[in-house]
Subunit: 111 residues, 2 copies
DNA sequence: GGAAATACCTTGACAGATGAGGTATATCAT
DNA sequence: ATGATATACCTCATCTGTCAAGGTATTTCC
């Protein structure tokens, strides 16, 4: 089963931040890791990804720099900031709460 | 903690369908029940609610009829259809899957 | 020389959520 | 009587995130 992307709308930023907790990385790799971690069930479209990077950077949750890795296409690396770490913590808490609430709302058995 | 509504975007229809499994109901009451069930952490804005009703009815997942309850403002009742029941089952399965995937994606501990 | 993989980015269109506004009825306090 | 509050419905313009479609550039392999 593959998830319709709109279901995860609003979680994009948290997913990227979580991935960056494992260390600096660049767009293509971040997306590959996320797809793999999701068991192929989900992956960002490129447009979504780069939109999110821009948003996250504008909000001060990540910073970016060009890598100088020698050969290959240039890569823009992203790093999570202190503010990003705080945001991720908040996002994780909100996710925990979301699970509780939605479980109550859609898995209801009786009244 | 109250959930930012965008987090639940895409689950609106499932939440309403689940509520209608308990029996026919009308907009105002559906919303009250949902808010209560969510422990006050979440409630639909009216515009969201009626947009969803229209969408659900157009998709054949619910039907509606005017109640003739005597006094008070008129009420439009909604009933879940067979197709709606199937849809809800699918939505619940997707939610189960979503939880698995997002847990893997944002609660990661190490690589 | 060209196909495929890697790697980045922008733009316009679309869909769902919602703020703001509207209508109408019943009840209750002043 | 009159105004406030609660119930109950609905629409429309706007905002935001997603994404299809398009683009650029480099390296590797056949």
């Amino acid at each position: 089963m593959s998830l319709s992307a709109d279901i995860l709308r609003g979680h994009t930023d948290a997913i990227i931040l979580a991935q960056l907790m494992a260390g600096d990385s660049y767009g293509y790799e971040i997306n590959k890791n996320i797809s793999q971690r999701a068991g192929g069930a989900y992956g960002f479209k490129e447009a979504t990804l780069y939109t999110a990077f821009k948003r996250l950077e504008q909000n001060g949750f990540i910073t970016s720099y060009w890598g100088d890795d020698g050969p290959g296409a240039r890569r823009r690396y992203y790093a999570i900031t202190q503010a990003g770490i705080c945001q991720l913590a908040a996002d994780r808490q909100e996710w925990t709460e979301t699970k509780k609430v939605l479980d109550a709302l859609i898995d209801q058995k009786e009244d």
